[in-house]
Symmetry: C2
Subunit: 210 residues, 2 copies
Amino acid sequence: MPRIAKDPQERRNEILDAAMELFHTKGYEHTSVSDIVKKVGVAQGTFYYYFRSKEEIATAAHERSLASRLDFVKKVVEEQGLPAVDKLRKVLLEGFPAPPKDQAILDYLHADSNSVLHQQWLVAKITAFNPYLTEIVRQGVDEGVFQLEQPAEVTEFLLVGISFLFDRGIFGWSDEELENKLRALEGIIDRLLGGKHIISADELLGINQR
Amino acid sequence: MPRIAKDPQERRNEILDAAMELFHTKGYEHTSVSDIVKKVGVAQGTFYYYFRSKEEIATAAHERSLASRLDFVKKVVEEQGLPAVDKLRKVLLEGFPAPPKDQAILDYLHADSNSVLHQQWLVAKITAFNPYLTEIVRQGVDEGVFQLEQPAEVTEFLLVGISFLFDRGIFGWSDEELENKLRALEGIIDRLLGGKHIISADELLGINQR
């Protein structure tokens, strides 16, 4: 029987998918390279052909997650006829927060020993999202629903505030404190962008409960 | 001749002062415990009676710096007859930023190996300053110069944004980018607090040039 050679990109994705699923169900710390190869049904050597270590697969998983969210955001920005407020809502509620299945990777980043990597990821995320957010805000200014100068700087400040304040690896908020701060975020977004009821507090609280 | 026993607190401060001065002139990495004791004119044993290591003296120096800035801020808040805008200006321009002489300690915190400590310090600083800032903003609301609800959450968001965005250990901005962002901060403060020309861009740029 001839050996079926898989496309390398496909194989790599397959290993990544298996790793992500295991990180999600067992937790990053309790997942070994053996667990991953067993799940995919390949030899350890195949894993090491694609990734040097479990840490490297975590980084790759994060990169893939960010890339896929950016794809989503790009499509939202390009959607014809969609008002800026709807675009902004989609980006901030669905594109910017990490999906629940990536949570195990975030937990890994929250460990003290990974704080350098964690900070670098937050910075990379803010830097990648900001041009899209700026474009949406400019559209909103044209539509007359937002009023502001320097949209790039204002959206950046907003993304920095959201990313660091609501990161439970950085601030150790209780659920109640977090809810309180998410409620206040409604007003903060309105003020910064010069709009009214852009995203409701209930919608913002929804992110936290996903 | 009888040995002159110094008050322990005084001796501790003396060692701290010498260490801070050396960190400032020689840099943290290039200062040794021997340098510190030589400058104070005490035995190594005396140093180790007060501090376990150079790292511990760096932490103590930071704590003392934060405590002294908080003392300043407390006095500003309690100053009778001073309008809220002047209080806010004093706190954000003179109290919140680390004075230039503490820069060597910040450089030490910016090293990757110290990023956990760095984050913890930023969080401690924000948490310590926010109640004072909130009180000033409440006064401003009473005076009719600021207009906002949830002052505690809004000032916290402002402090988080300022602390993380303008930290050159986290974001690697060029001088030009930093200037651009500091100019935009004028409008961001006005918007968040619901006031007008609260702190001018030139004043904000001044912090950076000190």
